[in-house]
Amino acid sequence: MSGIIGKKIGMTSIYDDNGQSIPCTLIEAGPCVVTQLKDVETDGYTSVQLGYGERKDKNTPKALKGHFAKAKTTPKKKVVEFRDFRQDVDNPISLGQEVTVGDVFAADDFLDVVGTSKGKGFQGVVKRHNFGGVGQATHGQHNRLRAPGSIGACSFPSRVFKGLKMAGRTGGDRVKVINLKVLRLMPEKNLILVSGSVPGAKNSYLILEK
């Protein structure tokens, strides 16, 4: 799997040749720096670690400074590992090399985007787990339209099962949306336009996977 780290800019829409309006998201992707290369001998698996976004020197722990110094680069804010990074056999990726969006993606490619969804706070089961609610407002129902209903049987099992879907903190999870199409690629500006929406708020970090 190859990929790149990016930042969500925002959404807009464009028209395709048939006149169909396509909602799309603009993502600033890269340029990333290869901060570590893992191989089978020392780590047990192969992967490429990429760093993205400048981080202030004074906010970087010494241990991380040393890590970035090994790759001869400045401290990075977001570091992500890509297992089995697809690369040319003749031209393998080296430590400290810059990876741009044009290296990884081409126009009309399909990609997956990983991000952290927007936090929604404490929510009921209708919003959190897509429960149907009660469904009837009349026929004796009173102020429990969005209630979860029964959460289990009686004297057996005398307890509520673990993992039962109930109300609670919603959002802020790692979410992956799959098969978004690359509508436009602007490698000179480090921008990529993908179809549809991606998780998270504007300016939040995203992982684009191929």
């Binding site: 807009t12 006149g19 603009l26 336009l193």
Partner: protein, 117 residues
């Protein structure tokens, strides 16, 4: 809105600039491309502009209303669609509203719009 998105939407401003500027109450003629199999032909739709929605976004649309053999027809066109071939401005109307929904209940004499000179 982000500057980068504004940059991206610059192209759509250029498309919009190709058409004459019009507003609600104006009478326009829209040349709309229609694909039938492999053939493409241009259809015309002439009528009064009822409203313009989602102004200055990429999703901007306008509604045109006409009376076609006694039956009122309304069509919504996305102004940036590549299928909108040409827009002709035929007559400017003098109206005091942005949305002319009041025309929907009217016909004949009461559905007239004064010309803006």
């Amino acid at each position: 809105m982000s500057k980068l998105i504004e940059e991206l939407e610059q192209e759509s401003k250029a498309i919009k600039a190709k058409h004459p500027s019009f507003g609600p109450g104006d009478t326009i003629n829209v040349h709309y491309k229609i694909k039938e199999g492999n053939k493409e032909r241009v259809q015309q739709f002439q009528g009064t502009v009822l409203q313009i929605k989602n102004v200055s976004t990429n999703g901007e649309t306008f509604t045109v209303r006409k009376i076609s053999s006694g039956i009122a027809v309304e069509r919504i066109f996305p102004i940036l669609s590549p299928n909108v071939d040409k827009i002709e401005l035929l007559r400017r109307g003098k109206v005091r509203r942005a949305k002319l929904y009041y025309l929907r209940g009217r016909k004949g004499k009461s559905a007239r719009i004064k010309e803006k000179l």
